[in-house]
């Protein structure tokens, strides 16, 4: 006769095996995580290598050149250079900007080609703090998008699915207010929480950055007004995050299912945001149709000192349009079959 533990375990396993979400998370996800991650990293790496191989950094040459430039570097004639090579009597000097990936590649190629037999002097001529500000300009938009999604996910799941599980949705829907009012109200609440979380996190990140910069004696060449300039787009991003989270939660039947769906949606949007911080990604470089990537690129451009008004409009329009579409769909899915 089997021990009761066996019966309990058997029943529990049967329960688990019949739950699609648990199976996805505990079986399929672990099975495909590592192959998927390795495949993704390989793709990114080959893209990066392809980009680097195809790149011909422009270099200004000064002094009497005693050797031609290496093949993978071209002399800047009528376009601005990313590095400068100066031939002197007893040495060769390379000036580059550590804040510019293309300039760093130019430096590496020149060093490889000229290191022997010429003695090299290599200088970073970027203004103090520029390298750090470039990193900040990439990281801040990414943090904003990621935070807006994470901050909105749980309030959205709580507002939609927990409301349904507790029976409070039925209480609300049995009142005279039309159905869309409840979703709009939930959206306002989720967006408010998200905005608060995003604003608090940006402030905290800014204070921490300044503190760390002071501690290590580094400078950040970033105009604080630029942070204000991206705030409206950050607000729209937070609203968009709230809409996506509500959309992900609306069709689900349980808290757990909603968490899984919302996590998947958040991951997908995060990947879009990551595209916007890739080194080759540039504003208007074909990424304009990717809404979140475009928003990240626009915020990045503002932080780097540009004023991309037209692209800001495009990014804002995309976020608004997709946000409205998400809410419309969520309204359809919130309670199928009920009357308005």
């Amino acid at each position: 006769m089997q021990h009761p533990i066996v019966h309990v375990a058997h029943a529990e396993l049967r329960q688990v095996a019949r739950d699609v979400n648990t199976l996805l998370l505990t079986v399929l996800f672990p099975l495909f995580l590592f192959p998927g991650a390795v495949w993704g990293m390989t793709q990114v790496e080959s893209m990066r290598e392809g980009w680097e191989e195809g790149l011909r950094p422009r270099v200004t040459v000064e002094g009497d050149a005693r050797e031609p430039l290496p093949e993978n570097v071209v002399e800047a004639i009528d376009r601005p250079a990313v590095a400068r090579l100066t031939w002197r009597e007893s040495e060769v000097e390379i000036a580059y900007r550590a804040s510019d990936p293309e300039s760093v590649i130019a430096r590496d190629r020149l060093v490889d080609a000229l290191d022997d037999p010429w003695p090299l002097e290599v200088h970073d001529v970027a203004p103090p703090g520029e390298a750090l500000s470039v990193v900040v300009a990439r990281v801040v938009p990414l943090i904003l998008v990621v935070l807006s999604l994470f901050a909105s996910m749980y309030p959205a799941v709580e507002a939609v699915v927990a409301d349904r599980e507790r029976g409070t949705q039925e209480t609300s829907l049995s009142t005279a207010a039309p159905r869309w009012v409840f979703l709009a109200g939930k959206l306002v609440a989720v967006a408010a929480i998200t905005l608060f979380a995003v604003s608090a996190s940006v402030l905290s990140a800014a204070a921490t950055l300044v503190h760390v910069a002071v501690l290590v004696g580094a400078e950040i060449a970033l105009d604080p007004l630029r942070l204000l300039a991206i705030f409206p787009l950050a607000v729209l991003t937070a609203l968009y995050g709230a809409c996506v989270s509500l959309l992900a939660a609306a069709p689900t039947r349980s808290f757990k299912q909603a968490q899984n769906t919302a996590s998947a949606a958040v991951t997908a949007v995060m990947l879009l945001a990551l595209v916007g911080v890739l080194p080759r990604a540039e504003l208007g470089s074909g990424l304009g149709w990717l809404p979140v990537s475009n928003a990240v690129l626009v915020m990045r451009a503002w932080l780097e000192g540009e004023t991309p008004w037209a692209w800001t409009g495009v990014a804002a329009g995309e976020l608004l349009l997709l946000g409205v579409a998400s809410v419309w769909l969520a309204t359809r899915w919130l309670r199928p079959g009920s009357l308005a």
Partner: protein, 244 residues
């Protein structure tokens, strides 16, 4: 006050196929009466009531509540009814009074705060009106829920097994509320499994089984159908056998 004609609702299930939960149901309930909707589990009572409360749409047929069509005037129907079921919950982190005021506002009451206060007094819940609902006992929570259904003083009450899990004292208070509503000329549709409740409250009953109406008659007439004159016997005779 409630007129139901040919009301039908089907559900689609992956394993069971298409299920007709409510199949061309007809009945009526008038002002000043409590009509009992009786039937075994899965008979279609809750689906019928949810259609009347406009929480789900009928596939076929019509229903009018307080003279309003449930399809055409859904919002006005909801304003005309007080709906209570086992699955209408309360916001756990709002206080009893906050819930009443919130629902009164959604129902469009111009004096929501005053209505909430009046119901707090009427249901003698002053002592715990400022306690969040998740800290209330089942009985207290149901008291608040009943008050919630009445907060906008609707002419029609649709109560689906409202005494589930209640102790006898709270149940008695609910019966008093319903009897007062009847005396005030309101129309009450009341679903229950408990024959004693139906006998006490209802002047007429609609017996539903397998989604179809098996009887719509007065309580006295239904009782007289049984050899022993008991409602329970008459009910069992009606619902015995296959459901469809």
């Amino acid at each position: 006050m409630i007129e139901v004609e040919g009301l039908t609702r089907r559900f689609h299930d992956r394993e069971l196929g298409t299920i007709t939960a409510v199949d061309h149901v007809n009945f009526r309930a008038d002002p000043g009466e409590i009509v009992g909707l009786l039937g075994p589990n899965g008979a279609g009572k809750t689906t019928t009531m949810r259609m009347l409360a406009t929480l789900i749409a009928p596939d076929e047929g019509t229903a009018r509540v307080n003279g309003l069509d449930v399809r055409q005037d859904a919002a006005e129907v909801r304003r005309s009814i007080g709906y209570l079921s086992a699955s209408t919950g309360l916001y756990g982190r709002l206080t009893a009074r906050e819930v009443l005021e919130y629902v009164a506002r959604l129902q469009g009451c111009p004096d929501a705060a005053a209505r909430a206060d009046a119901l707090v007094e009427r249901f003698e819940i002053e002592r715990f009106s400022h306690v969040t609902c998740d800290r209330l006992s089942t009985g207290m929570r149901q008291k608040v829920n009943i008050a919630r259904a009445l907060v906008h003083d609707p002419p029609v009450l649709i109560f689906d097994e409202p005494t589930a899990g209640l102790d006898v004292l709270v149940a008695q208070q609910l019966f008093t509320v319903l009897e007062e509503a009847r005396a005030a000329g309101k129309c009450v549709l009341y679903s229950t499994h408990i024959m004693g409740e139906a006998e006490r409250l209802c002047s007429r009953v609609v017996v539903i089984h397998g989604g179809r109406v098996r009887a719509e008659t007065s309580m006295d007439e239904l009782r007289s159908r049984a050899p022993d004159g008991r409602l329970e016997t008459a009910f069992i005779d009606l619902v015995a056998g296959p459901s469809a």
